[in-house]
């Protein structure tokens, strides 16, 4: 089955088997930041931005991405708003094993695009879909709060 989608800003054509999940397609294409953690969409390690909205790719067929835009962390590199979030995660000690980190960063990016100063409660709600077994979410939440602070400083100082 032939599909076409915009992957990380590039229009691409793929010939996929019908049962192929979007997660499998993305990893086959070298988007290793998108990870397999479960098969039910509950752990969030396979999060991507589908038409700019966070979605879990392990429970989507590749076919469902036809004529849509899919963004993975690979597509957001070299991009200051993402860079600010990555720096915050690095500096806050929010990364232990790192398996859930791309998903957390993608979700944070999507959250901050919606709302420039989310409360801690809103941050936790947004991160609910990304399970982490290493950190207890303590430093990841701090990292997001730090990123929010940084971004507001950037905007106020121009």
């Amino acid at each position: 089955m032939k599909i076409q989608l915009k992957l990380n800003g590039c229009d691409q054509n793929f010939d996929v088997s019908e049962q192929l999940t979007l997660l499998q397609l993305l990893r086959d294409e070298g988007c290793y930041s998108v990870k397999h953690g479960c098969e039910s969409g509950d752990c969030g390690a396979c999060t991507v931005l589908m038409n700019d909205r966070p979605a879990v790719s392990c429970i989507m067929l590749a076919a469902q991405a036809h004529e849509k835009s899919v963004i993975t962390l690979e597509g957001l590199d070299d991009e200051p708003r993402t860079g600010c979030i990555q720096d915050a995660f690095v500096n806050s000690g929010a990364i232990q094993c790192g398996y859930c980190t791309p998903a957390m960063i993608l979700v944070t990016r999507a959250l901050l695009d919606r709302s420039s100063s989310p409360s801690e409660t809103q941050i936790r709600e947004a991160l609910n879909g990304v399970l982490c077994r290493c950190t207890g979410y303590v430093k990841p939440v701090e990292a997001v709060l730090n990123a929010v602070r940084q971004q507001s400083e950037v905007t106020t100082h121009g």
Partner: protein, 778 residues
């Protein structure tokens, strides 16, 4: 050298943080190999059965299938999958494929095919004729005469009593408990139960094997124990160790679940059968069925105490559920005993433990390794004793916990089945842990709310662990210098996400007086990094870190000797600082120049060193956890509001990663206390096989967690460090149970503290109260 520490003791950024933050291909599955095959395992649908016949002929002919393995074409080699030092503690009761299956999820066959789908389709074509046997799921029933014998094979060794399904047994005795109980003013005996829980590392077990150009088997795998994997797989496949290489990439969490050979052996066997690269990755469902979990324990605990709160005797009887195979059973029980009894320095102590086989998924190593179960019982009963005696809960602990200079009663016993020397505790920060924890949670101002619908309660629990296994765990390091003043640091110890690579870099950087960014850490590859027991038993900083310290010191010595030659100065007069060597007169030479000279110019040699370390002692870390809970007495729902975890880890090489360890361990302990379990359907089939049912805490579920790091600087550890990886998981569950008792007056002795359990306990207490009122009215 007691100048101010520049790198150790500071929140240095993790050396792997950047690549993880950018999602670089770093994990086991983040590679593609040409011609790679995909493996799937066929699991037993029955809890207990013999395989009468197995027919793989159709599967072998199916499209894309390259190999099918069963007991018929795999040599029968007895082994233990436990990642422990050689020789592994008994029992040796596993084979890659047996003619008998012992739990729903036991291996029956393995297929390697061109795609996952082809492998899956082939599984469906394998015909197995089972002779069903009666299964047994409860430990109490399994060790009764007449229970089905789970391990009746002739060639298993080291099973304590196979007829009674006892995989391992442990007896420990110190002093005279009988006398101790006689001399007590109060004796209490209670039963406690803990449940199956699983590690739930976000990265499932995954292995890729291939045969290299020298015909050596290469195993790229998500493991905590690369060297044990090498040895155990070589043994199973009857290869010399030297023909096997294990590569550990970035690991997505382990927590003990990867201190085990789970996928490596069968993946390797398929690789050798096909001579093609083979990939085996567990689904999350397979994790919940065919991986490992924590030993459930039923604990009967009896304590004798004097009126002033001094413990006089303890008798602990443990029945642990080993699941279908023994693996870590013996040593886990040992930890249950030694940590609890040692923390309170009980002179008269008796421990009897049986790890019993059942037809359930295999239990193994899990952070804390028996201590969380033991401390749940111990810390709960201490609170009950305190209440009965009218003694303050903190005071009863203060009265009894071990002090520096004292020798724990079982210190000399059981490290992986071996005796070690009696050693006194040198550093103990328990008092400071208690004091600072009490302060943070507001213990003295804390008001339990004993009436009304929402009742607040506060609880405390203590714990102790160890720092590596004395005289057993060994770690080693190889370090070499490069001509730009950077250093390659090759360590055997795997970083499984804890940040140990960073710790090693910090230690080396501190000794060499260079920025940690100059240290290029590689962990671990059995061909290139020297031996390390592995990332378990909280040994990484204490044992492996010391080997790094030693190697760095030797490298520094060599640097100084070259500098002394160049600067024409005595070595003793020289000083290392910021990547250069200085003499008293102001002359200096950079590390880069030193290395150029050594590699290229004069008296050429490679500045390098190797070092190994094991320790005759294992200085324990100490911890006190405080929990604040609110219980809705109409529903039994327990809400944890705050957990304070104060940990004496000796010295935190990196306070930020150390806090991270505490925070993550507390989160796991809350799940252990409230929501996690692995129930089955009555026939051994797991009911919760996804994250929808098996609930690990998400971001909104977390209470406030406050980690407190207490410094005691133990002389045995690098820069005074002990350990922190496991200890914070052992006390929060008990603290929460104690807080629930404080809030409601009701004591629950079984985990998890589900709403209905709390609700029923409250109802029962109400009826007792009503009956009492009735009686007194009459």
């Amino acid at each position: 050298m007691d100048d101010e520490l520049k790198y150790v003791g500071h929140a240095v950024k993790k050396v792997d943080a950047r690549k993880l933050a950018t999602g670089r291909a770093a994990f086991t599955d983040d590679i593609e190999m040409r011609g790679m095959l995909h493996a799937k395992l066929l699991y037993s649908p029955h809890a207990h059965a013999r395989i009468r016949e197995i027919d793989t002929s159709q599967a072998e002919r199916a499209p894309g299938v390259r190999a099918v393995l069963t007991y018929k074409n795999v040599p029968r080699v007895i082994f233990s999958s436990a990642g422990e030092n050689y020789p592994e503690p008994p029992p040796y009761d596993q084979v890659m494929f047996d003619r008998k299956v012992r739990f729903v999820g036991d291996r029956v066959a393995a297929v390697a095919a061109d795609s996952v789908e082809a492998a899956d389709s082939a599984l469906a074509l394998i015909r197995v004729d089972y002779e069903l046997l009666d299964p047994v799921f409860e430990v109490e029933a399994a060790c009764q005469p007449g229970a089905p014998v789970i391990h009746d094979e002739a060639d298993a060794t080291g099973i304590y009593d196979a007829r009674r399904n006892i995989a391992a047994h442990l007896d420990l005795l110190a002093g005279d408990p009988e006398q101790g109980f006689r001399g007590a003013d109060l004796v209490m005996e209670r039963d406690y139960r803990t449940q199956f829980v699983q590690h739930c590392a976000l990265e499932p077990h995954v292995t890729i094997c291939y045969v290299d150009e020298d015909d050596r088997l290469v195993i790229r795998t998500s493991t905590q124990v690369p060297f044990h994997v090498r040895r155990i797989v070589a043994h199973e496949l009857q290869l010399p160790v030297g023909r096997v290489r294990v590569i550990k990439p970035r690991i997505g969490g382990g927590f003990g679940g990867k201190q085990e050979v789970v996928t490596e052996d069968v993946c390797a066997a398929l690789c050798l059968a096909t001579r093609r690269p083979v990939r085996l990755e567990f689904t999350r469902e397979e994790e919940f069925i065919a991986a490992r979990s924590r030993h459930p324990q039923t604990i009967r605990l009896k304590m004798g105490v004097r009126r002033d709160g001094q413990l006089t005797a303890v008798d602990m009887r443990v029945l642990a559920n080993a699941g279908a195979y023994g693996t870590h059973s013996l040593t886990v029980m040992g930890v249950t005993a030694t940590k609890t009894f040692s923390l309170y320095n009980v002179a008269n102590a008796k421990f009897t433990g049986d790890a019993v086989y059942t037809n359930l998924p295999v239990t193994g190593a899990f952070r804390g390794y028996g201590a969380p179960q033991g401390f749940f019982a111990f810390e709960s009963l201490l609170d009950e004793l305190a209440a009965e005696l009218g003694i303050d809960r903190i005071e009863i602990r203060r009265k009894n916990f071990i002090r520096a200079g004292q020798v724990p009663p079982f210190a000399q016993i059981i490290s992986e089945g071996k005796e070690t020397a009696k050693r006194a505790i040198v550093t103990c920060g328990m008092e400071e842990c208690l004091r600072r924890g009490m302060d943070e949670i507001g213990w003295n101002d804390a008001r339990s709310r004993p009436t009304g619908r929402m009742r607040t309660g506060f609880g405390v629990a203590c714990a102790m662990q160890s720092s590596g296994i004395a005289r057993l765990d060994m770690g080693s390091t190889f370090m070499k210098m490069n001509e730009d003043g950077s250093f390659n640091l090759l360590v055997g110890v795997p970083d499984i996400g804890t940040g140990s690579d960073t710790i090693m870099a910090q230690i080396a950087a501190e000794v060499l007086r260079v920025d940690p960014e100059k240290i290029i850490v590689c962990s671990s590859d059995t061909d290139f990094t020297p031996f390390d027991s592995g990332a378990y038993a909280s040994s990484t900083t204490f044992i492996s870190g010391t080997s790094v310290l030693k190697a760095a010191e030797e490298v520094r010595r060599q640097i100084l000797s070259v500098a002394a030659d160049v600067l024409e100065c005595d070595v003793d007069q020289l000083r290392c600082q910021d990547g250069a060597v200085y003499d008293p007169s102001g002359g200096s030479i950079s590390y880069s120049d030193i290395c150029h000279r050594a590699l290229y110019e004069k008296d050429q040699f490679q500045i390098m060193a190797t070092a190994s370390h094991y320790s005759p002692s294992s200085p324990p870390p100490f911890a006190a956890a405080f929990a604040e809970v609110v219980v809705d007495v109409e529903t039994g729902i327990v809400q944890v509001k705050k957990v304070v975890s104060a940990v004496d880890c000796g010295f935190a090489i990196n306070p930020q990663t150390a806090e991270g360890q505490v925070e993550g361990a507390v989160a796991q302990a809350i799940g252990f206390a409230l929501t996690e379990d692995m129930p089955h359907d009555g026939e051994g089939r797991m009911l919760w096989t996804d994250f929808r049912s098996y609930k690990i805490l998400a971001a909104s579920d977390m209470p406030e967690i406050v980690p407190i790091l207490v410094t005691t600087k133990d002389p045995a550890g690098p820069f005074g460090a002990k350990s922190i990886a496991e200890i914070p998981i052992s006390s929060p569950a008990a603290a929460i149970a104690n807080a629930v008792a404080d809030a409601t007056g009701v004591r629950i002795r079984e985990l998890p503290l589900t709403p209905e359990r709390v609700y029923r306990a409250l109802k029962a207490a109400q009826h007792v109260a009503q009956d009492t009122v009735e009686v007194s009215r009459r």
